[in-house]
């Protein structure tokens, strides 16, 4: 067998079940690679070699007895270091949580455990998930495996890096204003920003409870669908999870048929100030969909700046609630960037926050009426320009920090305010061999449609199969 780590998640899970490869072999390979790449890309906060190997041996032993724990039996993964495991440290990327042990295990980790997955470690992230570049002055910056002089995107930096670098088959991330999609796009992997209320957030460090979503990063759409089929559904511990049936995502990805679906090309907002190289790749992707039989239509965008503003106010109110106590007691333990951003949140009064909560319902209604009457999904860029260098984004708290960060998240945040699902897919490379991503934005709870489209696209293109040089 060639390098087993180059299989997809779907292939790896099947290979373990068919006993073509053992969980111990896969897990050992993943740990070896994680350790080998760590000095170059700094993807991990902690590699849990002993625990992971013990888990892998247990998986193999089960399999030997004919017991298959679930669809992810024996497959090694790693997750952003903000998903709690009872009794273990979860740094959330911050000195403040450097020694803090979690009181409970995240609902999503419990689901992955039950499905048989093995966790080999905890991944780098932006401090408290508050930042889109993936930099972290406390843990050290994660590096882009396509070119380590460039940012990874964040905040789920380690998740994208470890999946892109063929270290693990899947990783969990969280997306409050692009934190799954941004690093997925910048590292060339597939990531799902799930519908708000689709996946439990119990036992996950919040950034903004009004906007936070949990979703998987994988190498392919089919892998992603398999992950979400395990993660999705109502959870008694998280009141925000809705009682909406979970469709068969794996079949949706398998059908990969977009004939009859209408894909909307946004006019307004998403096409403003977009770098020509990025615009070119997006146009090519739209053309590919047309070639696959989808109807491609132009759709005028409602006022997304107002939606973005709503998102800022919601985030600010939530952030004060989460961080107020630490800001009073341990402000000096934050990195400069995070501290600066949290200070900004103080400006939001309760009235502003309530206004934002009110506008939100109305904005969602208007958006759905204006957009989804004309198409089934939108196709839009993720970052309007090519992947910046680390040195391009000096955002360590200087006066321009807010403007730069705002520009990076501009095309992301509205989707979180609206609570819609969005699938990030690699759609080519800009000069310098840096990945470029796009997002397919669907109706609420229409992840299955997005998987169908994404799988069709990946059936017709090979961007997602390219392996970074690191």
């Amino acid at each position: 067998m060639a390098d087993p780590l180059h299989m997809t998640l779907v292939e790896a899970a099947a290979a373990v079940r068919a006993r073509q490869v053992s969980s111990v072999e896969l897990t050992q390979a993943a740990i070896d690679r994680a350790q080998a790449l760590q000095p170059k890309v700094n993807a991990f906060v902690r590699i849990k070699a002993d625990e992971a190997m013990a888990a892998a041996r247990a998986c193999d032993a089960d399999l030997a007895r004919g017991v298959v724990r679930g669809p992810l039996h024996g497959v090694p993964m790693a997750h952003k270091d903000m998903f709690y495991r009872a009794g273990e440290v979860s740094t959330c990327g911050s000195k403040i949580r450097a020694d803090w042990k979690a009181p409970e295990t995240a609902a999503v980790l419990e689901r992955l455990d039950a499905a048989g997955a093995v966790q080999i470690g905890n991944l780098n992230m932006t401090e408290f998930a508050y930042g889109p570049t993936g930099q972290n002055a406390f843990l050290g910056d994660a590096r882009n495996p396509w070119n380590t002089d460039h940012i990874t995107g964040g905040s789920s930096s380690g998740s994208a890096v470890s999946v892109a670098s063929r270290t693990v088959f899947a990783a969990l991330g969280s997306d409050t204003a692009g934190s799954v999609r941004m690093p997925a796009a910048l590292c060339g992997v597939t990531g799902m920003k799930t519908t708000f209320g689709r996946v439990s957030r119990a036992g996950c460090m919040p950034l903004s409870q009004s906007l936070d979503t949990v979703g998987p990063l994988t190498r392919t759409v089919a892998d992603n669908a398999l992950m979400l089929s395990v993660l999705a559904g109502r959870d008694a511990r998280d009141a925000s999870t809705l009682d909406v049936p979970v469709p068969d995502y794996v079949s949706a990805a398998g059908s990969a048929d977009v004939r009859g679906l209408r894909l909307g090309v946004p006019r307004g907002f998403f096409d403003l100030q977009v770098d020509p190289e990025v615009a070119k790749l997006l146009a090519a992707a739209a053309a590919a969909f047309r070639g696959l039989g989808a109807e491609v239509v132009e759709v005028a965008m409602p006022d997304l700046d107002a939606i973005n503003a709503t998102g800022f106010l919601l985030t600010w109110g939530d952030v004060v609630g989460v961080h107020g106590a630490w800001m009073r007691e341990r402000a000096g333990d934050y990195t400069a960037q995070t501290r600066g951003r949290i200070e900004v949140t103080l400006a939001a009064g309760g009235a502003d926050y309530v206004d934002a909560q009110r506008s939100r319902a109305r904005l969602l209604r208007e958006f759905v009426a204006a957009v989804y009457s004309k198409c089934d999904a939108l196709i839009a860029p993720i970052l309007a320009f090519p992947v910046p260098r680390l040195s391009d984004v000096d955002v360590s708290g200087g006066p321009n920090m807010m403007r730069i960060l705002d520009e990076i998240t501009r095309l992301m945040r509205p989707i979180n305010v609206l609570g819609l699902p969005a699938l990030a897919l690699p759609c080519g490379f800009t000069p310098g061999n840096l990945p470029c991503g796009m997002q397919l934005i669907g109706r609420p709870f229409a992840e299955a449609d997005l998987y169908r489209m994404g799988a069709a696209y990946q059936g017709a293109t090979d961007w997602h199969t390219r392996v970074p040089p690191v």
Binding site: P103, E104, A202, M205, Q209, R237, A239, V322
Partner: protein
């Protein structure tokens, strides 16, 4: 109070709900545990550990809403009240703000024989804060978060009360109602029921309200009354001296009987409310309300009316007996055990029973003389075995020693003497021994007759049937 001033009072009462677990977590609400052993990650609001609302607390709120004739909101919203205080380390309290679960309603009070209705603005669910212990810990305060997250129902009135007496009457009526409903244990020493009073004064006849002050955390009816009285005097003095009342929160100091300013105005303004992002709107369906309604106890007002109609009791008796569910239940059980005149039961319950319960600081449920025992005793009065007076002696013995009326009567030989031969003998002896009284009676002094009856009863050690004593004495004196 000075005659040219009118007082305006509104109360905000925090009733701790009698649930087993906290409002948003599975921590115990038991009182008196070691510090911080009942504070879970949710009560401490560790980020990422999410609150989930307790169905028991919601049921309590619905019960209260139904009992006061309020609207139980189909949808209500949980909000964060952001403020900073050491016993609230997370920096916000989860409460309800714009849309509370109970809206409107009223409570009827009786003051100086007059019924008055106090309108409620609202009642909302919220969590309690922790407790600061101000003993000296190297100049610091100790924080116990066991109470953090304990469910409270905050019940807010309109500014409808016009005297401290009305405020106390309202607080007492509310207290008995929440205890009656079983939604609050009513223990004021432990802080299960505490009031904040909003007090203002205005010259009589003026329409606009004066500036009000809020006096916090009054945990006894006496403090409530004293604090309001003091605050009224303070405000009137202030205005009459040319000063102005400043809107503020004040604290009552029972040791010095005064109120003093508690938080600066700026801080009071700094509450920020917004809907809690961790909690979705609370939806209460008509079905849920109907289910609670079906399980509701009969309410005091209805029970009062029924006692008057069903048992033929005077209004005063009906009101007294329905002061608590325990007492009312006691009364009805005793009536059933007795099977005779309910008014006799009422007299005994309001008299001997209540007196001894007060003395022993017990609830009717804990009375050593059970309804069955009292019923057995009253039967013996009704059938003439003992007199009412002897019955009091039997009751006293039952209270201390237990047993039944019959065994006590037998053991102590208290059976009434109804044998007319025996009574005649006693009467003859009494007449012989009291010639002066006999003379006075014959001279027209009716009082002398009573003295002779008393002597006869005394001679029988209270056991002679008083009716028979009367008859025989009359006959002999006439003869």
């Amino acid at each position: 109070m000075r005659a040219d001033w009118e007082v305006v009072i509104g109360l905000e009462t925090h009733a701790q709900l009698a649930t087993k677990s906290k409002i948003f977590s599975g921590s115990s609400t038991r009182f008196g545990a070691l510090p911080n052993v009942q504070a879970s990650a949710i009560d401490l609001a560790l980020p990422g550990v999410l609150p989930v609302l307790n169905a028991g607390a919601v049921e309590c709120a619905i019960k209260f809403g139904l009992a006061v004739g309020a609207k139980v909101a189909e949808r209500s919203i949980f909000a964060r009240k952001n403020y900073f205080y050491p016993d609230l380390p997370k920096g916000y309290q989860i409460s309800q703000y714009e849309i509370p679960v109970v809206q409107g309603g009223s409570v009827t009070i009786h003051v100086d024989g007059v019924d008055k209705t106090v309108q409620l603005t609202r009642a909302h669910l919220e969590e309690d804060a922790g407790k600061s212990l101000h003993e000296d810990y190297h100049g610091m305060s100790g924080i116990d978060l066991n109470r953090a997250g304990t469910p409270l129902l905050e019940i807010v009135t309109e500014p409808d009360m016009r005297s401290s007496a009305e405020a106390v009457a309202y607080a007492k009526a509310l207290h008995s109602l929440v205890v009656w409903l079983g939604i609050c244990d009513g223990n004021m020493q432990e802080g299960s029921f505490r009031c904040d009073a909003n007090v203002s004064v205005r010259p009589k006849g003026r329409k606009e309200f004066g500036t009000r002050c809020e006096i916090k955390n009054l945990n006894s009816f006496r403090f409530l009354e004293q604090a309001i009285e003091h605050e009224i005097t303070r405000q009137i003095d202030l205005i009459e001296d040319g000063g102005r009342v400043v809107q503020e929160t004040r604290l009552y100091d029972p040791d010095r009987n005064e109120t003093r300013s508690m938080r600066s105005k700026e801080d009071a303004m700094d509450y920020r409310y917004f809907p809690d992002p961790d909690l979705l709107p609370l939806e209460i369906t008509a079905d849920a309300v109907a289910r609670v309604r079906a399980g509701m106890p009969e309410l005091p007002q209805a029970m009062r009316a029924r006692f008057e109609a069903q048992y033929g009791l005077p209004a005063y008796d009906a009101a007294t007996l329905t002061a608590s569910r325990g007492l009312a239940g006691y009364f009805e059980a005793a009536v059933a055990a007795f099977g005779g005149d309910a008014k006799l039961v009422s007299n005994w319950v309001m008299g001997d029973l209540l007196g001894r319960l007060h003395e022993a600081d017990l609830g009717a449920d804990a009375a050593p003389v059970t309804p069955a025992m009292l019923g057995g005793l009253l039967k013996r009065i009704a059938d003439g075995t003992i007199s009412g007076k002897i019955a009091k002696e039997v009751f006293a013995t039952l209270w201390v020693e237990g047993g039944s009326a019959d065994t006590v009567i037998e053991a102590k030989g208290l059976r009434q003497i109804s044998d007319s031969g025996a009574i005649e003998k006693i009467v003859d002896e009494v007449l012989a021994a009291n010639p002066k009284s006999v003379e006075e009676f014959r001279a027209g002094k009716d009082k002398a007759f009573n003295a002779l009856v008393g002597q006869a009863m005394k001679a029988s050690r209270g056991k002679a049937n008083p009716t028979q004593v009367n008859e025989i004495l009359k006959r002999k004196l006439a003869g």
